[in-house]
């Protein structure tokens, strides 16, 4: 029973070595198969338990977990201090994929990053939770999306209205 508590979290299981914990959420798996094609020593669907966290070096496990296209496999450092300052190329670190698995204190510091996309020869699309200020207005946006003009020619500034196409706006 003790063992079960150690290896479970709501929605899945977790596996730890000295350095990292890997979280597995079966409902999120789309069977892209990167994990076992890349690292059968750790991720073997024919074995129980299917994850053997001692089967490879930590660095290699992180590399393969980051390949998972969904949130089925995510990871974090056991040393919480190292989780604060994590590089965005660590795509499946829980800070970016599963912030709900961080402690409440951690979540306060590291909320989901807001996505800023510079569209090709088009607007800037901003997605997430943020405060939006324009012409004296102040709005709290929750899980929202806005598209702002970058060409300067929109009739509905600051928002994009598609005019960039008519004027042939191009990023150089």
């Amino acid at each position: 029973m003790m063992e079960r508590e150690k290896t479970s979290f709501s929605g899945g299981r977790k596996y730890s070595n000295d350095e990292i914990t890997v979280y597995w959420k079966p409902d999120a798996c789309v069977h892209a198969s990167y994990c076992y094609r890349e690292l059968i020593e750790v991720f073997d669907p024919g074995r129980r338990p299917w994850v053997d966290i001692k089967g490879a070096e930590t660095e290699r496990i992180i590399e393969v977990v980051n390949m998972c296209p969904t949130e089925a496999l995510t990871w974090k450092w056991n040393d919480e201090k190292k989780n604060k300052d994590i590089s965005i190329d660590q795509t499946n670190h829980i800070k970016f994929r599963r912030p709900e698995l961080m402690s409440t204190d951690e979540q306060e510091i590291q909320e989901n990053p807001v996505s800023i996309k510079i569209m090709i020869d088009g607007p800037v699309v901003i997605k997430g939770d943020f405060t939006f200020q324009y012409s004296g207005n102040k709005k709290e946006i929750k899980e929202g999306i806005i598209s702002l003009c970058r060409c300067g020619a929109s009739y509905h500034l600051p928002f994009c209205d598609g005019t960039h196409r008519k004027i042939g706006f191009e990023d150089k």
Binding site: I88, D89, T104, Q107, E108, Q110, E111, N112, P113, V114, S115, I116, K117, I118, M119, I120, D121, V124, I126, G128, D129, F130, T131, F132, Q133, Y134, S135, E140, I141, K142, I146, L148, C149, R150, C151, G152, A153, L157, P158, F169, D171, K172
Partner: protein, 66 residues
């Protein structure tokens, strides 16, 4: 305090500000992706061109003042 109580909705920390007659200022926890230049970055502050005249797009280079 229980976990439930401390888990109240947090105010967003990221601020997107349209500067009148100027660029778009964004500060906070962001991931910036430029799809044309294929660049990904997470600066804590960025000024993006809104006038279309910057020589350093997507960033503002103060061309709007010209």
């Amino acid at each position: 305090m229980t976990d439930m109580e401390s888990n109240e909705i947090k105010k967003p920390l990221t601020i997107v500000e349209v500067i009148d007659g100027g660029p778009l200022k964004i500060t906070g926890n962001i991931i910036l992706k430029d799809l044309k230049k294929d660049i990904t970055d997470n600066p804590s502050e960025v000024f993006l061109c809104r006038c279309g005249h910057s020589g350093n797009k997507p960033y503002c280079d103060n061309s709007h003042k010209c």
